[in-house]
Symmetry: D2
Subunit: 345 residues, 4 copies
């Protein structure tokens, strides 16, 4: 059995993580750490866990952790996370970090967008971006995974095949993203008040959202070209789920490269790219992804459509599962040599 | 034109009040007062008012108010409200107060439930409970109205005909009430977070809710008997609307009194009681009230059903309109001798 | 491995059943039968099952079924179901039926409420009501289970301890029930249209709902007294979940029986009654059940509160899981001697 | 008083139309016609109208209409509508048609997309597209208005200033549109079932939606250039409201034309274009339109944002009001010389 600890157990993603791990046959949760100290039982914080996991949460400010942890999930906010990750990696303990602190190979991008100095350069150097579909081999070998953001997962998976094969211009991509409210976190705020979100849709961070540089950074590295996107997120009145509608422009000289642009050829290309991936499902014909088909699952559903001037890619995930906790468990499975689907179907 | 001021302009009820008053042909809003001072324009607080009411909000802590107010709506929280009401009544200005501070003729009930000493005994003595269907004549003559709560409005209107005619036992009444989330106010809290309310229903204050003594107090006064109810409110994932499902027990000796208990007789009794009321609509046959039919309106829809052991009464209102701001305008119309429906259809 | 078939695979309950069975380590789905014949793959009917169960659905009108079925779940509507159940029971195949057709020991009650003649008297005689908490021993021995309705499950579990111990009057019970829309089935109708349900709450079947006689019948049998309830269901704008708010009247002579009516004593009584039940969770102190804590699970959360004139019992379940498919799998586990929790946590 | 008739009174848009007209001081509803004949009272079809408009609906299949109609609103589906419109126009009665039948000056576009032969060529020739902000003078003079679609209204208003001034390429425009479910109509269908829409977002008609040619047609006529757009609509779990997120590409030679591309300059351009329009509200600074601020109103809220490669325009309307019935009344006001805001604030 792998003994795992969760550091930062009060987030919505932590709850989903716990629920997945409780079903995982090779894992035992041996430690829960929280920044708040007033409510000791995890089943008091999340009554849905009653009878499933009735253990107490330990305060983490002392930064002392027990020995019986083989792998730590860090679900703390960015800039806080990097204060805790080295405490584990230095002791040789595997870490999967949910914040943005270990997603960038280039410290300067992180520091610009998160407005903080990065204090763990050593960590950044060994960290691997935890998108198994693109970085599986690296994940197998690392002890530190930077678990991807939710918008980024849906966007990168949707675009990787086209960009890898040079089908579309890397600097003329529009990502219109829609997310359920749990993506905003669990903290009560005016913009997460029920009456403000319900019966409403709005765009936010139109000027620039933190997930935008993450998407560009990872896609640029992976496809060896400078990728730049126009990213606009929207808040949707539903608890969970993300749908990305992506508009990419096919290159003009495609014929010369031998690629015949059509729905079936694009579909074939995605099938080749993701054919054996356990959590990617490609829609057939005119079917489009619906978030209701992926929520509470680790699947990413993708459809493509060729129109007169664009290739439209639609991708849907559960922001808390494939966009966070399910992907983290997938990474754990890869890191530990378990069956990749274990605990996730 | 009647010049009105609104003291406490940032509540959901204040927004509804403003929207109604803007349509009222005999009213001009001349003053908006707020406890917060950072956002001066009402259309910044409520962008939906842009182009409709672009005036600034004045801070109220100094407790000084201009002369050009003929009637003041006080939409402050209980215990705060009574600090402001006398400032107006003493100058002969009509007041309609939205808090609980002027709803009880008996100070001691108020003080027990609101855990505060009442500082305006004079006000209590002249205040009239602002339910026009039951206290129209008193409202006509008063300068100070205690505007009823939302749950109380729906419950009292549903029960008044049966209790007035002595058809049911006054001490064996169950009120199972369901409210949209706006009833909880506009303050962000864990229990109004979108993800906590959405896809959820729960009961709250099962031991005792503040509206319970208000209902009992008013019904007891109005029907000259000691009324006691069992009241359980529930939070429903919708913005607005209240549905009360009320179970009353018919008296055993009804036949002796000449009342033949049946659906049609009960319906007839309600028709007599509310026949000319402009905002009461009685459902016919097996039709039941739906909150969607009353939201954004000042109507209260009521249905009755006689079963083997009970008379079931269903009543639906918009908690922000008939349960607050619409009723306040109705009271204003009565107090000022306007057509009662003015601004409300 | 137990080979199971699902007869009537297109209902919402069927989807939930499939998802649970796919996680069950001792079960293999070997047959899916449907009344419609146009969409052969189950993952076309429910795209969420893509990659999880890509098998075809067989038409069932011929009433011929393969041999490789050890247990059949029948998820057909009432009156249709009883045409199929005997086809399996006669061959010695275990059956768990989701309709009302095998829930009544007394045929006449069924025939009155479902307005149809019952054609399988032999089935009724051997059928056991599939509420494991109350009928575990009988379920172990039977080959035919009538799986309870959703409202009935929540209500019976809430009332059984009090009625069994004679604490409350069996004929003065009010059940105010609230259900998500999936309880209405998957058929598009005016009353399940999104815009008609959303931002709305309404009561329905106020005169009498089919679940009412089922509740009375089972509670009467189990607690050996004539139980009669006042049952009013409501439609709530959410996908799934049921909350029952139940008002029971404590008997006047309790003291003589040695029972001291108090919150703690009632709570102790429930704890004794359900102490070892794997799927009953009793709320402590002033905590109340929330449907969000039980949806997607087989738990029933229950709270009790003693007030001046009533004992209030609140119970919450997922109507599709504990109110249908989860309970069916629980019954299967009991019938087959599996660990009761298998596949359900 | 203007006597108006509504032909096709059972749509969601008809209900909104009636509610607006009931508040309009110069209008009297004298006729309601329906295609169904079973429920004669409009307040039976829409119980929310009870006590507001208790008149009967007449069957329209006979195509005979009374004389006391000065203006007819036709709220029938496309291809049905053109069978009724001439019956009124021929008698000199003003008509505002809600369908697509009179929105295209070019019959062939209509016939291609609506797969039907147009039978009223004379009507098409005199019909004016009912977007007052762009066609006010023509509307003043016509007897027949083709009332715009909901998506088209939000999109055309958002793009007209930029296209009129030649700021952006007319053939590189992406419109990512999000609509509440009432946009799908009132007919129960699988895709409007509550449980299918709730907690879900999906794109539809990705290949090509009927509103796409309407937008291109009108913008091309109005701005004298061939406009072509990429339009993808999405279904959002809310009753009403549309948000369009539009990505337009600024021309490369703008500097030569003297236009300095910046947030403030684009904002100034919109202010000039719409400065006096009563129903256009331009957001300031970083504020973005929210559908909750426009629902139940005739406003269109618009924001613009200049990014590295695009101008992003956000526009929000109520699909049933500014996208249908409010706009129709606005058109009526213009046609009849009433104050344009009458009945609409």
């Amino acid at each position: 059995m792998l003994n795992v600890g969760i550091i930062g157990a009060t987030a919505y993603t932590s709850l989903e993580l716990i629920k997945i791990l409780l079903r995982h046959p090779k894992v035992k949760i041996t430690y829960l750490g929280v920044r708040r100290t007033d409510r000791p039982m995890i089943s008091d914080i999340f009554p849905t866990l009653k009878n499933l996991l009735d253990v107490s949460c330990e305060p983490i400010e002392h930064k002392e952790f027990p020995d019986n942890i083989n792998l730590a999930f860090i679900t703390l906010p960015p800039t806080i996370s990097m204060q805790y990750v080295p405490l584990f990696t230095k002791r040789g303990i595997k870490v999967i970090d949910f914040s943005a602190d270990y997603r960038f190979r280039d410290k300067s991008i992180y520091e610009k967008w998160y407005k903080a100095q990065h204090t763990d350069s050593a960590g950044i150097e060994t960290a691997v971006y935890g998108l198994p579909e693109l970085f599986r081999e690296e994940i197998k070998k690392t002890n530190l995974v930077g678990n991807p953001g939710c918008y980024t997962t849906a966007t990168i998976l949707a675009l990787a095949p086209l960009l890898t094969h040079g089908i579309v211009y890397p600097d003329d991509i529009i990502v219109d993203a829609k997310s359920g409210v749990s993506g905003r976190g669990r903290e009560p705020r005016e913009d997460t008040h029920y009456c403000e979100c319900n019966e409403n849709i709005e765009a936010y961070s139109v000027g620039g959202h933190r997930h935008s540089p993450e998407i560009e950074h990872i896609l640029s590295i992976k496809t060896s070209q400078k990728v730049s996107i126009q990213f606009v997120p929207h808040l949707i009145p539903m608890n969970r789920g993300i749908l990305c509608t992506i508009y990419a422009k096919p290159k003009q000289n495609l014929k010369e490269t031998g690629f015949i642009l059509s729905d079936s050829e694009v579909h074939r290309l995605y099938k080749e790219f993701y054919g054996k991936e356990p959590f990617i499902r490609l829609k057939e014909g005119n079917e489009t992804p619906k978030t209701k088909d992926v929520i509470y699952s680790n699947f990413c559903d993708i459809a493509t459509k060729v129109t007169e001037n664009r290739i439209i890619i639609l991708s849907a995930i559960d922001n808390l599962i494939k966009g966070a906790s399910g992907q983290a468990v997938h990474n754990m499975n890869v890191m530990c040599g378990f069956d990749e689907k274990m605990g996730l179907l």
